[in-house]
Symmetry: C5
Subunit: 368 residues, 5 copies
């Protein structure tokens, strides 16, 4: 195993690090609005989209105040906050929207488990967003928090990204259904992208796993085991993220709240189906990987057995021949055969007969 | 392993590809009526059967409009659409029957998970239909969607096929119960065929698995492991399709809807029993395959052990004999035995005694 | 592995064949009263027992009509039909008792899963009846269907048998509780015999498994693995039959129906306990079999390792001795030792010392 | 494996024999009051304790009638019957207390599964009582049945024993809470002892398992595998008894009955916690045993590999040396080296160089 | 394996010892207030914190009476008892607060399972508190019991410790939410620290497991298996503690009681999420350990196979060469080749050709 392997493992190790606790964080108050994650960008980036069936406005804003004025409008306002480290911004939001302190403390804790929480004036959702870097193949994890109120949806991302661009695109084109929906429909649209990314990433991984299969049959080198274990770990990592997300979406699809329109439940059920499908796929690939490991071991051990059998049979054939030669290498004064003129040739004949006989015997017993 | 194996694996790889997502499909609106599957036929093929207890009419139609007129008739109309790629036809249906856009968007998404969805004026069902090509033995998967309204049942298939011919036959013969049932009974009849096909395919696979057993005992060649893994994967593929179908039928059998008559519930329960039985069978065959793998490995390793033991014992017997010959091949000036006239024959005698002694010892310890 | 093994496997293969579907049966109407099983006897055999607390009558009858007259009597009538292939008899029953067509179609489908179905005028039960042939040890499977009405219990068996004789005996003797019970108590009595047979068969199998253990320790021949796998498969077969039967009895014990008296529920619960016990036993035996397989493999591999270790050590001891002899077999002009008078004897001495030294070394390292 | 092993296995075999059915018992009426167990003592032994908060009386009685007079007293009467084979005594009880025949038939069936059954005038409980013989280490199983009425608790044991002595002791000392409780509290006190015995036995077994660990590391002889399997089986046996007991206590803790005071539920919940703890411990020990088996196999195979590697390397070093000696043992007329005076010594030199070179090579590749 | 290993195992053995029962404890009355644990400190240490939104008082007290006076105050009083062995103190508490005797008997039983029990005037909680000694790395287990009343929270620890210092700190600083909460919020704060410690300990263990990975790849010595098993056991130990704690917190989060304010439920749900996350992490690490074991075994067996293959091939090459030398070591009178002048050199040539030919053959078959 080489440096590359260690790299892979180091990378995958990072994957597992989602539930650690620093000694000094033990006993913090749950409503302390302090950032507990890794700072992933420099400045907080605020975007706002405000729309209803007829109008539509998109803005990059500087101050939280610019959003607050939309709070009681009938239009849907989507307020996207990229970057969580600026405590002041977060506190302005908490005060401006009159959220329970707990809501934003939760948003700041990027290591928390996917969840749905209902508060008096909002619903808080959080989910892990997975994205695959097309070039390096690395999967990045980011905590996405959504706060849903009557007319505003706040989405919090750890770093700036364009993953929700298709939703913005749909909002921009007037014909789409999203323009007639409320914040619940918008929530669905965002979660839908998160789940689609799960399916996409599993699909990409799955393709690699399937390609592995051919390598496995044609040329099963030693590196293949490392690869299988790397994929296995990646898959486990995906599963560990998908399972709680599934629970979260299940809770969401069952949630009875004024903020969620009856007609949106069908969408959340659809979402549940999709994430279930992601789960099914990952099960399938896990089974395949496990079969691949077994096939690899069978192949390797069959090959070794064949070599050992061949070599052993080869040695065994020479053993009686060397013994015969040994007999006539003895220096006894009287060994009658030694005197006879054709003895040497007879010895060769006997040796050939013995060797062929043994070969035939092994053949007959199907050892060759 | 040979090309054939790779073929098998390529085929089975296709089997697993049921949950992939193209990068460009992420973020599509869920009610976009666009075809997201593989186009499997050229032109859309529309068939209609219209019946009640007394009358019966069967037609190949050209326009969706020909069906719409039956919409409010008391007769049962079964409208079968083969081919989903013609967006215009689908949109005509959506408008004509006043379906939610979501309903037909779902029908067009052939990769979706089996499901039941209740809408205001219809129930949408989807299920994977498996069919075995009798010649090639290939199993084809197709998404079947059913939309049930008060008097019309729409069935959407990806390609033209005669799998529902027995139902048409039952409709044609006036005596059958189906002529007295509504769209719910017709739905049951179609799903029944789907489930029967599951059982049939598992049965065919099971027969092959059982035949394998004899090969395993009589002549366990190397190819057998490949076969076992191929069957294992096929079985897994079947299970992955049957499990969500079972969930779907369970939901259906519990669904309280005006569209489903009380008397139909007993049929849906029957269906649930049948699919449960399919599941049980596949469990049985999975256990058998797993036992077969174990038996194979035991057989192979027992055989190898026997060979190795034989060869080792064979070698071991010659080792002291060759040593004795070596002793009397030394060129010391004084080796008293060398002078004695019968030494050579005595040496042979000693060798034979040693060899027989060792054989007896091995026999006694049950090593032979 | 020999012909006997193949026989065993052929037999056990038959065991798995309980969920097959013929191609031509796909799409049959569920209320077609046609026999879908294997014909196991020549003529249908009809028996009737009619009793209440005071009176009792037992008859072999020729015509269904003879039973129909008891339909509205307050006495309990037990009507036993052996053989299902005579469609006419079955249809007479359907008409005579005014059963839904579905009820008797279900009775005729001997491959169906154990179930309870409530109809407007009856309850249909079906369960697999297992019986062990005392001589051959073969386990035969038969589908038992019971139709319970207010005053008549119809029992359908695939072939003639005396398995319910103890119940008839209890009915004959006036004192027994069964004479005061209704059709629900009679149903319990019949099912009780079916479940008792499950427990009995598992017990017999278990005894064989326990006997195997001794063979395993005293003389673990190769045939033992075949035996273990045969028992394993038999056990799996039993489990596959018991599990759905347990579900069925659970449904029955929870069924709220006018046909089942409150006081009978305690009996059905008892039944559930018994079948749960059968399940527990089969779990125990499965664990034992799995342990036996592991012990066998450990024993075999320990034995092989011992042999190989012995043989290897034996060879290794001769290797340096043969090397020494080889040294003094060289024909160099000057080999000083060869000239010395006692060289030959010294060589022997050295060889003995080397051999003993090696033995002691191996002993010290606990290799011997 | 030796006679001792067979003894152990014979003993453990007995452990599994708790669900057998004799052929002749199939079809017996469930309310036949006949003893279906093994007779474990000669005469039935009847004890009675009668108490309330103030008074207390303890008697060995001869006739069931002596208990019946307490039936309607407000005091709590505990009636302990040791030995179930005397049908007459049992029938006197049934008549005297006016129990359903089923109740006492159940008590007589000592092979039944732990259960709770509510009857019109009593609650029937049964549970397996495990006891460890301190000397032989044998675990004995006994069926304990309890019948709880308003003022009398009947306890049925298969043989005489002093396991409930601590409860009697608590009754004797006036201060204890038990004196203020009803039959429900007494029931709890008895079951508590049964569950405490489960925990105790698991603890004793666990200690042996933990001791095994040291033996495993210091001196892993062959007998250790037998021991591990014996403990594994004992543990399985315990689990098979604890699991249904847990179900039984769960039912009991949920039972709504006039006979069980509200305040007793907290005790039954405590009991449930205790038996859950027993279950957790047995899980822990099962994991430990399974790890021990794996460690054993790893240790053994590592040891064997080391031996084989050593021996192989030893042989390999002599192979080229013997070859060189062979070369100069040839009898060619012209072999120039043979004539040279120091050839023999040079040969030795070459041999030593080759041997050391090989050793260094093996060392470098970390094979030694 | 060495002494260190035995130490590790001895330590881990202690970990499993949490469900033992002494023979003499069987049958004790459940409300006996007697200490059933291990005495871990000398004198009982009593601390009291009394606070409301405005005021705050912290005291080390000598007598239970000093707390009792706060019993009916509206302020929240937190009474911390370190050390459970002083029965008199415990009884004073029981009398002073008028608790059911069962409550304090439960507190004294430090081996009990985590639980929630509702009594008329209090709620009893118990949970295992795990703490890691930073230096030795040892994990210590301690039973924490909490009794919650309207205005007093009693916390019982087995030994003195500063684990709850952060909570005291939060109480001291007036701004924190805890000052506005009741005993339910305080309960949450304490449990939160317990759960945070679970997560922290799993994280520390996880880091070691991840470090192991590199050692595994770079230098997989024999000690690594011991380490893996030690971590595996530690992880199992953690899981065995976390699982019942999870159940306890689940019960708590569902508990409907006057003592728990509606607004506290969101905190208990948060707690549940956290402990679920701890559980997920431990699952992840268990999978990793299991993969590591597999990788280790694969690595070791690959290495051994490589050595064996090399050595076998090495031996096999010399076998025909030694045979050839043996042929020309025979002493036949007529061996024509011996006379020819260049025979010896030709023999060398043939030998070299044979050796190279064999090497090429092995290379071609990819055995080298």
């Amino acid at each position: 195993m080489n440096l590359k392997t260690i790299d892979i493992l180091a990378a995958s190790r990072k994957l597992t690090a989602f539930a650690k606790k620093r000694k000094e964080d033990i006993g913090l108050s749950p409503d302390d609005i302090s950032f507990r994650g890794e700072r992933k960008m420099d400045t907080v980036y605020l975007r706002m989209v405000d729309y209803d069936a007829n109008d539509f406005k998109e803005e990059i804003i500087e101050k939280v105040a610019s959003v607050l004025i939309h709070q009681n409008n009938p239009t849907v306002t989507w307020f996207n906050i990229d970057g969580l480290h600026d405590t002041q911004v977060i506190e302005e939001i908490a005060t401006g929207f009159d959220f329970d302190k707990l809501v934003l403390a939760d948003v700041m804790d990027t290591h928390s488990r996917p969840k749905v929480r209902e508060f008096s004036n909002c619903i808080l959702l959080s989910i892990k967003m997975l994205q695959q870097d097309e070039e390096s193949g690395r999967i990045s994890v980011e905590n996405l928090s959504l706060i849903m109120t009557e007319s505003v949806l706040l989405s919090f991302q750890e770093k700036r990204g364009d993953v929700f661009e298709p939703v913005r695109e749909r909002i921009r084109s007037q014909k789409k259904r999203i323009r007639n929906g409320g914040t619940d429909y918008l929530t669905f649209a965002l979660l839908d992208i998160v789940v689609d990314n799960y399916i996409y990433i599993i699909g990409v991984l799955g393709e690699k796993i399937e390609t592995l299969e051919e390598t496995l049959l044609v040329n099963p080198g030693k590196g293949i085991v490392d690869e299988i274990y790397t994929y296995k770990r990646k898959l486990n990592f995906l599963r560990k993220n998908i399972t709680p997300a599934k629970e979260m979406i299940l809770s969401l699809s069952k949630l009875e709240s004024e903020l969620i329109d009856e007609s949106s439940h069908v969408h959340f059920k659809e979402l549940l189906d999709n994430i279930q499908q992601a789960n099914d796929s990952s099960d399938t690939y896990r089974d395949i990987l496990s079969d691949q490991l077994n096939i690899y071991h069978t192949t390797i051990s069959t090959k070794l057995n064949d070599i050992m059998k061949f070599l052993t049979i080869f040695s065994v054939i020479f053993i009686p021949l060397t013994f015969i030669a040994g007999i006539y290498g003895t220096n006894f004064d009287v060994v009658p055969e030694l005197k006879y003129e054709y003895s040497y040739f007879i010895m060769w004949g006997v040796m050939i007969v013995v060797a062929i006989g043994m070969l035939l015997y092994f053949k007959k017993r199907k050892w060759l």
